[in-house]
């Protein structure tokens, strides 16, 4: 039996009332796993789990590295902006975990079927058709893309899927990165042909273009 003094009780109720909204705003909110692929904002808080896969941190990856896992980076490629003057030097580089294969945008939930097929074929090739081979999916923190591709691989029957939520950001705290080029077929789309115009300093609809990923 817990005894609560007459003065403590209102305080306790008040504390309980205060804790929940504060926790929701400041603390790491509980994000449930979606039943399938996540189609919401791709850069946002992710769940702590991925059913059928192991969630690993950087130390976990460092321990796994001697097994030479297939490292799958789905980080977005820098998209050449609309409206850049032609004199601008545009030289994007994408640094990743050494040895990684890079499929920019492959974590999207709405990939066309043929893209999904090509992706799974390529991953089968890279793992020599061994679905028990260790694979690691990542991009950057708060990246649903790496969660999604991990989910896709679990659904495709891979039994040793590791999801690295810390991504390359966590890796480069202690380790160097290396520039990688996209896998064939996964280069970013060029920008739309026309740059938008401004009316009275306000952007018009044509100033915004659809995202490539």
């Amino acid at each position: 039996m817990i005894r609560v003094g007459s003065r403590a009780l209102p305080a306790a109720i008040l504390a309980m009332l205060m804790i929940s909204p504060v926790a929701a705003a400041d603390g790491p909110a509980f994000i449930p796993e979606p039943p399938g692929l996540w189609a919401g904002p791709m850069v946002s808080d992710t769940p702590a789990t991925l059913k059928g896969a192991r969630v690993i941190d950087i130390q976990g990856l460092e321990v796994l590295m001697p097994q030479k896992p297939l490292l799958i980076d789905v980080g977005a490629a820098d998209r050449k902006p609309d409206g850049l003057p032609s004199s601008t030097i545009w030289k994007p580089t994408h640094r990743s975990i050494p040895g990684a294969v890079w499929f920019p945008g492959a974590g999207s939930a709405d990939l066309p079927d043929e893209k999904v097929d090509a992706l799974l074929r390529r991953i089968a090739e890279l793992t020599n058709g061994d679905k028990s081979a260790p694979v690691v999916t990542f991009c950057r923190p708060k990246c649903w893309g790496s969660w999604n591709i991990g989910k896709r691989l679990v659904q495709a029957g891979y039994s040793s899927v590791h999801w690295l939520p810390a991504g390359v950001s966590g890796w480069q705290e202690r380790n160097d990165t290396t520039a990688v080029t996209p896998e064939t077929g996964w280069a970013p789309k060029p920008p739309a042909a026309s740059a938008g115009t401004f009316v009275n300093g306000e952007p018009t609809a044509s100033d915004q273009v659809s995202s490539g990923d």
Binding site: P41, V43, S44, Q59, E62, V63, M65, P66, A76, D78, R79, K80, P81, D82, G83, L84, P85, T88, I89, W90, K91, P92, T93, R95, R140, S169, Q172, R174, N175, D176, T177, T178, A179, A195, G196, F198, G201, E202, P203, D207, Q208, V209, S210, S211
Partner: protein
């Protein structure tokens, strides 16, 4: 015995965390061959085949090793022998558009100290290059840990970000810093890489590409900007004190909009 035990412990840790141990001996500091190769590539694009010498005794660069906000990384460049330098170039090696700024100094200019705020897209070397009056180039660099600065959403709607665009403020140094001033210009400096998370649309690049500051009839400096400069640019600079008249700032962006504003130098006591 203790030594043996320590050795065994160390070996076990090394076996379990090989990368952690090796990182302990060789922390990443920007001197890695691949990063040097990147600098060679980028600098060749900007400066052609002009030689660039190490210039630590002529130019220095300061930045936080780990930036709190990758879209707002403060950079301070100091020129130690100001009379020899006519321009300063700022290059953020691993940014997709690496040539962040060129600042050319005019007759009323003083390159002793320049402060800028920049976007850093990934862990990178940031180079400052001094160009001397006789056309020679001298570089220095610092390794900055920040990522995502070019793509970080502005956080407000485009229309809101463009409210009062072009409005300027100038803050002059106090009696102890009579040759210093800070220019603030309201402008979102859209990088073209910022995506609205809800609509998943990118806003076109629109940034200040030319800022000229003059004092009386003479130019203090002219800055050529790029998408790497942070929104609402804040530029700290030094100037030659001997001039007369007002400061005039002329700013232009890549959509062709331009703004001009004048500022009177405050009268100081004991002058």
């Amino acid at each position: 015995m203790k030594l043996l035990r320590d050795l065994i412990t160390a070996a076990l840790i090394a076996a379990a965390y090989p990368a952690a141990v090796s990182a302990g001996v060789s922390a990443i500091d920007g001197s890695e061959p691949e990063r040097q190769a990147r600098w060679q590539e980028i600098s060749a694009h900007i400066f052609g085949d002009r030689p660039i010498e190490a210039g630590g005794d002529l130019i220095t660069i300061e930045a936080p090793t780990r930036a709190q906000d990758p879209a707002l990384v403060p950079i301070t460049v100091k020129v130690l022998r100001k009379d020899e330098v006519r321009a300063v170039h700022l290059v953020i090696d691993d940014n997709p558009s690496p040539y962040a700024a060129k600042i050319s100094f005019g007759p009323a200019g003083d390159p002793s100290e320049i402060k800028l705020r920049v976007r850093v897209n990934d862990y990178t070397n940031v180079h400052a290059v001094a160009e001397t009056s006789d056309g020679k180039l001298y570089q220095t660099r610092i390794f900055v840990k920040a990522s995502g600065g070019c793509t970080a959403p502005i956080g407000v709607s485009d229309a809101e970000a463009l409210k009062d665009v072009g409005r300027m403020k100038m803050k002059f140094g106090d009696r102890d810093h009579p040759k210093e001033a800070t220019l603030m210009i309201r402008h979102p400096n859209f990088s073209g890489m910022q995506m609205n998370q809800v609509t998943r649309l990118h806003t076109s690049a629109r940034y200040l590409d030319r800022i000229r500051v003059s004092y009386g009839e003479k130019t203090v400096f002219e800055l050529t900007g790029d998408i790497s400069l942070s929104s609402d640019p804040v530029i700290g600079f030094t100037y030659a004190q001997s001039e007369q008249g007002d400061f005039t700032v002329h700013a232009r962006d890549t959509k062709g909009a331009s703004w001009e504003q004048s500022f009177a130098v405050p009268a100081r006591m004991n002058e």
